[in-house]
């Protein structure tokens, strides 16, 4: 019995009126963990009860501690009838289970009811006493740390990166159980919330066990998802990267902070104890894949015809980097492989430990310097599956008794069943792995998995970036095996040492595959940085831009959007139809991305995420990525338009008109994103030149680049331009749609990576937001064109709205813009966007050669200035320590906003400044003085600009259901969802504050499933969010602390945890 959980119920406030007669409430609280329940006394006739209960003690297994949530129910006592539930709080006690995280959970939690939303708050204190248990065969994995962050967390050092961990758990969905017909919606929702909470607890525990087996102590890039498969059940699955992390000493924590992945990584000790056995377990045999490129349509038709027999409709696609301009199709990167052999291989090594070796995947998107050696390109695989009922044993379904929810791990329970979710994913991963191999890569980084479900059809997708990694960081023998193999292809390119001597920032662009045996036709040139290795003309990746990569100008968000109509069909026919459509969609998405990239004058995509969503009568594709200009890659050629019907005067004229428009757009974009690469004479390209000369040349040209006159059109004629053939109206539409994307208004940038390439002077003003739109397609006779246009408009308008709403933050960048598309009903398209807007300081960008002291002063003054300029920033910074006169700084910053029209600037400054009119009055108001709610920042990024994360408190993973039967009264669908999302944010913040934290990083809204039935006045929504709770300290404060007393005091900057009353 290794744990004692202690809970104390302190007080409640703002409770709803439960007794109409007295306008008061007789509240009491039930505290439940596992199957033990305690109750407080009834606190009569109060909306602000003070229970001040004793400590309720639960003595439990640590297995239960990991799986079970603490469940707190607030009820209204009723002498004559059943007690009415006011609402519940679920507290995940996992953060208390590892030593370095939180020690106590204490604070005000919103009391949540799935029908009424938040109904008051309750103050709870939770503690755990853990006893050490050295049982080898334990089922718990207490102590393994989990991080959603997809890079090595800031106050840790990676000793070893072990590799991929995955797990999935399956159960029947309570919503679809027979009992749901007789129970209330509330009971059903609560059963669901509770079940998912249990399942994710179990999942996390199991993943933790795998990590312990691998001798790791943490999971980084932990991504957990739910598949609501409806009738056929509920799947909770998770992937992550197992690591051994070392906490950096407190002195190191006070080193000058860097927002980019930490530089401390430089000196990772070589792992001296690689397991020698692992060497042989990897697939070190030479590639035997039949890798060939071919016309997609042909291959896919074959694929689907074979699928009719076994229902496993798996179009297998891989997408490489590179394009082949002249041949016309960018989708020469199509790969197809026989997965058969690989699967057999897998069968030979059923042991879990070995399976990790089998998938050298990493969910990380940013890496310690030197980790990433080469990047091959994006690999992806999709598979269409038909869902059938997950056969659950009979004992599931007895409600009420908690342990009867015995969860099913499909692997262990029904392993003889061929159609398991686990096998499906294994198949896809195998696919990914072989694509990576074909690209000469032994590993996949930035790996992620997703599903799209409509009725009984499910599309499973996985994607990542094929890469060659530096084996120093890995324990894995597989990697070395592959590396050797690769090196044998390219003699003269061995040692890591030599690699490190290369000019920084181009190594990862060099092709990892064999030039003579390329997996797909691509244009290779010598690297524009080092001139020694070959690089492709275009590079697509799913990772963040490596910190050492050199880019020119700024990046921008690039999206490809696509709809395809599909006939309504049942089961197999439907699945077949979908798998027939998929390759075309992939192809078109790729083409669009390539066109838009060229139109922006850029040559690489980072953070690429392609989402294919299936609906009743259509498929939607949405690809988002951040385009940049990599110095190492060649200048992209332009886009040339060719008509198919010559000898038609007006037509020719039209074509040339279009061509001009496109050229203009490219020129404009180059100016907008400040892309002015140094001009390199043609003759240098293609012949390696001696290194010293090259280097000096490069340096010179870079320093000149600022005042160089931009000669934009230089490359168009010489290079192979990208040719668009216009042979019918469809193609015409495509070209038009290319040109409809309007750039963001001046002062705005956007990207879907962590940070914007080319901007590094962030201020600490951040605003995370979620925006949701649902559009109804009006006309019944939809065509692909109108559908495309509608979808395009929906996304573009959404972006425009965001820019407008956030205009007071200019100059600002929307980072980590994450679009999600779903098709909840026949004619409905739902787009959900989560992103963070970060203000940056234009003025500071120029001055990059500042000493540290100057910088820190400036930073301090930036904080100061913010206080004045942006009331959005909560006033938690102390003003006293800043040496600059606020007024002066204010003026300076106003004058630096040179990109904005003067009038508008004046407006925004005036509006934002709390010192101007209308504000002086509030100074005296008491509200300013005694705000009691601590500020909790939320961001999808892994860091907080201008601040240093001093402690990770644990993972936040929450699932909520909200339902209403009075939709109109709650303000319609918009009012309903707006309130719900605000409540979800509030509950996340409350949990973080209770852990003693003041921010959530790597926040993600993984699911937002919205269903409505306006006729019945009903709606339901499910939201799943996760992130890492942290304590951060402002850098300005940090310096003050460190100069005064250099000890590790991890006080949150805003005192977010404690809430005084």
């Amino acid at each position: 019995m290794p744990g004692k959980l202690k809970v104390k119920i302190v007080a409640g406030r703002h409770l709803p009126v439960m007794d109409r007669a007295s306008d008061l409430t007789d509240a009491f609280v039930e505290v439940k963990f596992g199957n033990m329940t305690f109750k407080t006394d009834v606190y009569h006739k109060s909306l602000n009860p003070q229970w001040n209960s004793e400590w309720f003690k639960f003595e439990v297994d640590d297995e239960d501690l990991q799986d079970e949530p603490l469940q707190i129910t607030v009820l209204d006592h009723d002498t004559y009838s059943a007690n009415d539930a006011i609402g519940k709080v679920y507290i995940d006690i996992d953060p208390l289970l590892y030593s370095e995280a939180a020690t106590v959970i204490s604070g005000w939690f919103p009391i949540y009811d799935t029908i009424h939303g938040i109904r008051g708050e309750i103050n709870v204190v939770v503690k755990v006493d853990l006893f050490n248990d050295l049982n080898r065969f334990r089922q718990s994995s207490c102590g393994v740390k989990f991080f959603c962050t997809t890079s090595i967390p800031k106050c840790y050092r990676a000793v070893i990166i072990h590799g991929f961990v995955e797990e999935l758990v399956v159960n029947e969905d309570p919503e679809y159980q027979w009992i749901d017909r007789i129970r209330t919606p509330r009971a059903s929702n609560e059963a669901r919330q509770r079940l998912i909470s249990l399942m994710s607890g179990e999942l996390q525990r199991k993943i933790g066990l795998k990590v312990l087996e691998m001798r790791g102590n943490a999971v980084v890039g932990y991504l957990q998802c739910f598949d609501l498969e409806g009738e056929s059940g509920l799947v909770v699955r998770a992937i992550g990267t197992a690591c051994t992390l070392d906490k950096l000493s407190s002195t190191a924590a006070f080193l000058p902070a860097c927002n980019s992945p930490s530089k401390e990584m430089k000196e990772i000790p070589f792992n001296e104890d690689p397991n020698p056995n692992t060497h042989s377990s990897g697939p070190s045999t030479p590639l035997k894949n039949q890798t060939y490129s071919f016309s997609p349509s042909k291959s896919y038709s074959r694929q689907s015809s074979s699928s009719d027999t076994d229902l496993s409709l798996t179009p297998k696609t891989g997408m490489g980097s590179g394009s082949a301009g002249k041949e016309g199709g960018p989708f020469k990167a199509l790969l197809r492989q026989q997965t058969q052999s690989a699967l057999e291989q897998r069968g030979g090594s059923p042991h879990r430990f070995c399976r990790n070796r089998e998938f050298p995947f990493f969910t990380l998107t940013a890496f310690p310097p030197g980790f990433l050696v080469h990047v091959g390109g994006v690999v992806s695989a999709r598979s269409v599956k038909l869902l059938d009922r997950i056969h659950n044993p009979a004992f599931v379904g007895i409600m009420g008794n908690t342990r009867s929810y015995k969860l099913l791990d499909w692997n262990s329970f029904n392993s003889d069943e061929p159609e398991t979710r686990d096998a499906w994913w294994a198949e896809i991963r195998q696919e990914i792995k072989s694509h990576a191999k074909a690209l000469g890569c032994h590993a996949v980084v930035g790996y992620s998995e997703s599903t799209s479900i409509c009725e009984e059809v499910c599309i499973l997708s996985a994607s990542g970036t094929a890469a060659v990694l530096n084996p120093r960081f890995l324990q894995d023998g597989t990697v070395e095996g592959c590396l050797e193999q690769r090196l044998s292809w390219q003699p003269g390119f061995f040692s890591i040492g030599q690699e490190e001597n290369l000019p920084a920032g181009c190594g990862f662009c060099h092709i990892p595959y064999d030039e003579l045996n390329m997996p797909f036709p691509a244009h290779l040139t010598y690297c524009y940085s080092c001139r020694k290795q070959k690089v492709p003309d275009v590079l697509f990746t799913t990772i963040d831009l490596p910190t050492d990569a050199t880019v020119i100008g700024k990046g921008c968000l690039i999206q490809a959007r696509l709809c395809r109509l599909k006939k309504k069909a049942q089961a197999e026919a439907n699945a077949t139809a979908i798998s027939n459509l998929l390759p075309f969609m992939e192809y078109e998405v790729h083409t669009q991305l390539m066109n838009k990239l060229k139109l922006k004058g850029m040559n690489a995509l980072f953070g690429l995420r392609i989402q294919i969503t299936v609906g009743e009568n259509m498929l939607m594709g949405l690809a988002s990525a951040t385009g940049v200009y990599l110095t190492a890659l060649p200048t992209p050629g332009g886009i040339q338009i060719a008509g198919k019907t010559p000898n038609d005067g007006s037509y020719e004229q039209h074509i040339s008109h279009m061509q001009k428009k496109i050229n203009d757009t490219i020129a404009k974009n180059k100016e907008l994103y400040e892309i002015n690469p140094p001009e390199i004479p043609e003759e240098i390209i293609g012949s390696p030149i001696p290194e010293p000369r090259q280097r000096s040349r490069l340096l010179r040209s870079q320093s000149e680049s600022s005042d160089e006159v931009i000669e934009l059109d230089l490359s168009h004629g010489k290079k192979d331009a990208f040719v668009l053939e216009i042979d019918d109206t469809d193609a015409m539409e495509d070209v038009h749609s290319l040109l409809t994307d309007v750039p963001p208004p001046s002062g705005f940038y956007s990207c879907n990576t962590e940070i914007m390439p080319g901007i590094n002077n962030w201020t600490s003003e951040i605003q995370m937001f979620t925006s949701v739109r649902v559009s109804r397609l009006s006309n019944i006779n939809l065509t692909n064109q109108t559908l495309n246009k509608n979808f395009n408009d929906l996304c573009e308008n959404l972006l425009k709205s965001l820019y407008f709403k956030l205009r007071s933050m200019i100059p600002c960048c929307l980072c980590h813009v994450n679009f999600t598309v779903s098709l909840p009903e026949d004619e409905l398209i739902q787009v959900t966007v989560t992103a963070v807007a970060i203000t940056f300081d234009k003025h500071q960008a120029v001055q990059t050669t500042k000493t540290h002291v100057e910088k820190s002063l400036q930073r301090a003054s930036t904080d100061n200035e913010e206080l004045l300029q942006f009331p959005l920033e909560l006033c938690t910074d102390s003003l006293g320590s800043h040496p600059f006169s606020p007024a002066k700084e204010h003026l300076e910053s106003a004058s630096s906003n040179s990109g904005i029209p003067a009038a508008q600037r004046a407006v925004s400054v005036e509006k934002a400044s709390p010192l101007t009119e209308g504000h002086f009055r509030q100074r005296s108001a008491p509200a300013c003085a005694n705000s009691t709610v601590g500020v909790v920042k939320m961001t999808p990024l892994s860091f907080i600009p201008g601040a240093k994360i001093t402690k990770y408190l644990g993972i936040i993973n929450m699932f909520f259901i909200r339902e209403t039967t009075s939709l109109r009264e709650e303000g319609g669908v918009s009012g309903f969802l707006h309130a719900f999302i605000a409540e979800v944010f509030a509950m996340v913040r409350a949990h973080v504050a209770a852990l003693g934290g003041n921010a959530v990083v790597s926040y993600i809204m993984k699911q937002c499933v919205f269903m409505e039935n306006p006729n019945k006045n009903q709606a339901q929504c499910l939201i799943n969010v996760s992130g890492d709770a942290v304590i951060f300290v402002r850098e300005s404060e940090l310096e003050i602390i460190s100069t005064q007393q250099p000890i590790a005091s991890c006080q949150p900057a805003c005192g977010g945890g404690e809430i005084a009353t």
Binding site: Q767, V774, F804, L874, V907, L977, A982
Partner: protein
């Protein structure tokens, strides 16, 4: 293609001050969009009308959700759903409770009941304030009134504590509550020239001097439930009763003559309207003293301002007394009483006259 659902939720709740004002002013979404378009915001930002519409809707929805909390401002501070910086919270509250001069003049001194609410339509038409805004302002009055009505202690202080308003606004609300509670008539035609500021000024003085709370120290051990009079909201009944004693100043002919001669002697040559003053002294004095002695009747309390205007301000005004002469006269008029040997209620007289004098001076304008 129409947007069925369109929302934006920030971790920090975005508040657009301009839109907030439009919302408070009671404009519908479409009117607000129209007004924003006219403000030239589209040109400034390059946004489209659709964007503006969506933005306005979104802000309106947020405000609608916040409104419930604004009804009890301390809740806004403690709630967890909307993360709003303290300065913005204060702004939201202050603006929500701000009211229009035109509106407040219409309802000042009226009973804050449902019956009056039906008249809001007329008030809206008359003042040009939208009905929605009238509703909000009226409900604010009523809400504040209900909360502080039964409360002991400083009226403005209570309001500030429970509604977190700025000093100034809390004192204005104190005046509104005071007027509503005592039902002073302010709507008569001859009172129309008085601004809310004038009346609030008078109310504040009366709260300071004429309520039970004004007597300085409170009863040492107040019986908890037998307190009949509220400290600040009602006039001091005992005081009003005592005011009857002042009647002797006009009823006793000798005293009246003596008073007149004292005042005339002191002011001779100092007033431009001396003859008029001399001729009118008895009328004016009778007016002021009679007002005092009648204040035991609720009806006469209600008519206090009407009486002040009829009995004192109008006569002076018709004789074209300059403001300074009025001041000199009132000072001398109240001071001379101290020299009347036969008069024993000096303290009572001062408590009455100090307030009245300031009120009259403030009210004496066109």
């Amino acid at each position: 293609m129409t947007n069925e659902l369109d929302i934006f939720v920030g971790n920090t709740t975005l508040i657009d001050e301009d839109v907030y004002r439009l919302w408070l002013d009671g404009y519908s979404v479409s009117d607000a969009v129209g007004l924003r378009v006219r403000s030239g915001i589209l040109e400034q930002t390059g946004a489209t009308a659709g964007v503006l519409q969506s933005d306005t809707m979104d802000h309106y929805r947020t405000f609608h959700m916040l409104e419930r909390l604004l009804h009890t401002p301390p809740k806004l501070l403690h709630q967890l759903v909307f993360q709003i910086p303290p300065s913005r919270q204060a702004l939201l509250i202050e603006r929500y409770y701000a009211f229009d001069e035109a509106f407040v003049r219409e309802v000042l001194g009226k009973k804050l009941s449902k019956g009056t609410k039906k008249d809001l339509d007329d008030i809206s038409t008359k003042t040009g304030v939208t009905l929605k805004s009238c509703r909000r302002q009226f409900d604010n009055f009523k809400r504040v009134f209900k909360v502080v009505e039964e409360m002991r202690g400083s009226l403005a202080g209570n309001i500030q504590q429970h509604f977190l308003l700025s000093d100034r606004l809390a004192r204005d609300y104190a005046a509104v509550v005071f007027f509503a509670n005592n039902r002073f008539e302010t709507g008569k035609k001859k009172l129309q020239y008085l601004t809310f500021g004038d009346l609030a000024f008078c109310a504040e003085l009366m709260i300071q001097n004429w309520t039970p709370g004004a007597v300085g120290e409170q009863p040492p051990d107040p019986p908890p439930y037998s307190q009949v009079d509220d400290m600040d909201v009602d006039l001091d009944k005992e005081f009003l009763q005592d005011l009857k004693e002042l009647k002797v100043l006009v009823a006793d002919k000798d005293l009246l003559d003596l008073h007149k001669s004292l005042v005339c002697t002191a002011l001779r040559g100092k007033l431009s309207v001396f003859p008029e003053m001399e001729a009118n002294f008895k009328n004016l004095s009778r007016g002021l003293v009679n007002i005092a002695s009648k204040l035991t009747h609720t009806k006469d309390v209600r008519d206090l301002f009407v009486d002040l205007v009829e009995k004192f301000i109008e006569p002076c005004r018709s004789d074209r007394w300059p403001l300074n002469d009025v001041r000199l006269f009132l000072n001398q008029y109240s001071a001379s009483v101290h020299s009347l040997d036969g008069f024993r209620h000096q303290a009572l007289w001062d408590r009455y006259m100090v307030t009245l004098r300031s009120c009259l001076l403030r009210m004496y304008h066109d």
